[in-house]
């Protein structure tokens, strides 16, 4: 356990600069986006209401009021989020491969540490999950701040204050990232954890058997998906369901947990018996 914590801390440190860059880009681009969008809107107010004498109601009916909802669909907000997702997806692969293909052969050192090798797996897995969750937490904290920034730039009569839920409603990616209930949170991030675990196992297949390992990895993921979706596939084939929705949900939950455990055990076996430097 102590070595796992140390390895996790070490892995976090290795990507800290990259992670802080992501945080910096996200904050800078989103704040800039809010400022630019608010300025653009207030310029319109100046032009139509103050210079051309348009009534406020007429302006609002023509241009609408200003709220975070208007900008949240723009690239200013979505861009950094999608960029962070892309970087973390790439890093999910890099977190393993850089130990083999970096300038120095750090994988030798990792595999020769006097600790269970599965700790390396857990440390890398936790690093990815913590980075995802902390970026999500940052975004949750940032949206109300952006709302405040916007409210300070747009005159009160033209600004509509929105709750967090109202801000992100109707935007699928955000509703996945920021689920409204604890159970949704567990499902979304549990599936995310499972996906990263399966990908890690596939990477270890590749690192163990090289070219053949790519095939084994793909087959492994396909088998895992088949197990997870087997109840749904059965229902689709037979066109009959003998299960209530809640029973189906629990069955899926059990299958996901089983696939997760299977993936951990397979990874442990590969790390202990098959991995090649």
């Amino acid at each position: 356990m102590k070595n796992y914590v140390k390895l996790f801390n070490f892995e976090m440190g290795r990507f800290l600069k990259g992670y802080l860059a992501l945080v910096g880009i996200t904050v800078a681009v989103q704040v800039l986006g809010v400022v630019i969008a608010s300025r653009s809107y207030t310029n319109k107010i100046n032009k139509y209401v103050y210079h051309e004498g348009m009534a406020i109601d007429e302006f609002l009916s023509q241009f609408g009021d200003m709220s975070m909802y208007a900008i949240i669909h723009s690239l200013w907000i979505q861009g950094p989020i999608l960029f962070c997702i892309s970087v973390l997806l790439i890093y999910t692969l890099l977190i393993w491969y850089r130990d083999w293909f970096g300038k120095n052969t750090f994988i030798y050192r990792l595999l020769m540490l006097p600790t269970e090798r599965i700790n390396i797996f857990f440390a890398k897995l936790t690093t990815i999950m913590v980075m995802v969750l902390s970026l999500v937490a940052l975004q949750i904290m940032l949206l109300p701040v952006l709302n405040k920034v916007m409210s300070s730039l747009v005159p009160e009569a033209y600004f509509m204050n929105l709750s967090f839920k109202e801000m992100i409603s109707g935007f699928d990616v955000l509703t996945i990232l920021f689920p409204f209930s604890f159970s949704d949170f567990m499902i979304h991030y549990g599936l995310g954890l499972l996906a990263v675990t399966l990908l890690f196992t596939a990477i270890l297949f590749e690192r163990s058997f090289r070219l053949k390992g790519i095939v084994y990895g793909i087959l492994y993921i396909a088998l895992s998906l088949l197990i997870i979706f087997s109840p749904v596939i059965m229902i689709a084939i037979t066109e009959k369901s003998y299960l209530y929705p809640l029973e189906l949900f629990y069955l899926e939950l059990i299958l996901c947990v089983l696939v997760f455990i299977m993936s951990i055990l397979t990874s442990r076996f590969l790390l202990n018996k098959k991995i090649t430097v």
């Binding site: 070595n3 140390k6 070490f10 290795r14 970096g102 300038k103 120095n104 052969t105 750090f106 030798y108 050192r109 595999l111 020769m112 540490l113 006097p114 600790t115 269970e116 090798r117 163990s208 202990n272 018996k273 098959k274 991995i275 090649t276 430097v277």
Partner: protein
């Protein structure tokens, strides 16, 4: 004792180790000798559990390798095993963090011996100095066995001399050493046992002292006979 028993290893269809067996004792320097590609590094990796073997057995003090073995045996590959952005002090701290057998005093002594600066970054070191850091990180562990893969490979003559000095120092005393090298001239007189390899098989395994005393031959002489060069 490290016992390598009839190990076989394939890379794809190519059989790189065809039943290799030898032992390495504590307090002895065992040298694996052969041209590139005969499987010397593969044997080292196999002993350390860094590559799986097809068949055979490797025992360290009578037991198969497990996580506790890394407190008894260390491997110094031909490339440094630390991150390039690390300073030497970071690398030493890393080792100190994970290995109970890390000997800080010895590490500091070796720093002085190799005239290395603790605050130098690994990426900024010359190849010779990187080899010295690699050696330092391996030899500062209080382990019974040290495996070294081509420690003289591609480094300048002065660094080579300094590294060769290590073999006559207390750093090696009482430890079992397995070394692979082409350049045995620097350490030939220190080798206790030589294992000559070619195409994945052991051609000859002999006690260097016996050959020197009884036959009046050097290891290089025996190599010439065995490899027909």
């Amino acid at each position: 004792m490290i016992e390598v028993k009839n190990i076989k290893k394939n890379y794809g269809r190519r059989e790189v180790l065809k039943g290799v067996s030898f032992t390495a004792n504590k307090g002895e320097i065992t040298c694996l000798i052969g041209v590139n590609g005969v499987g010397k590094t593969t044997i080292m990796n196999a002993i350390m559990g860094l590559t799986p073997i097809k068949s055979g057995e490797i025992l360290i003090e009578g037991k198969p390798l497990d996580k506790t073995s890394y407190e008894k045996i260390t491997f110094i590959p031909d490339a440094i095993t630390m991150l390039p952005q690390m300073k030497i002090s970071d690398a030493m701290a890393f080792m100190n963090d994970y290995y109970q057998c890390w000997n800080q005093k010895r590490a500091n002594d070796m720093l002085k011996f190799f005239r290395l600066e603790k605050e130098s970054r690994i990426s900024e070191l010359s190849k010779g100095n990187r080899a010295k850091v690699n050696l330092l990180l391996g030899l500062a562990l209080d382990v019974d066995y040290v495996l070294m893969d081509e420690p003289f490979s591609g480094i300048d003559i002065f660094s080579r001399e300094q590294i060769a000095e290590v073999f006559t120092s207390h750093l090696i005393e009482n430890r079992g050493v397995i070394i692979t090298t082409h350049e045995i001239h620097d350490i030939e007189h220190l080798i206790d046992k030589a294992v000559l390899l070619d195409e994945g098989v052991i051609l000859k395994e002999f006690n260097a002292e016996d050959v020197r005393e009884n036959e009046g031959k050097s290891i290089v002489d025996v190599m010439r006979e065995v490899f027909h060069v």
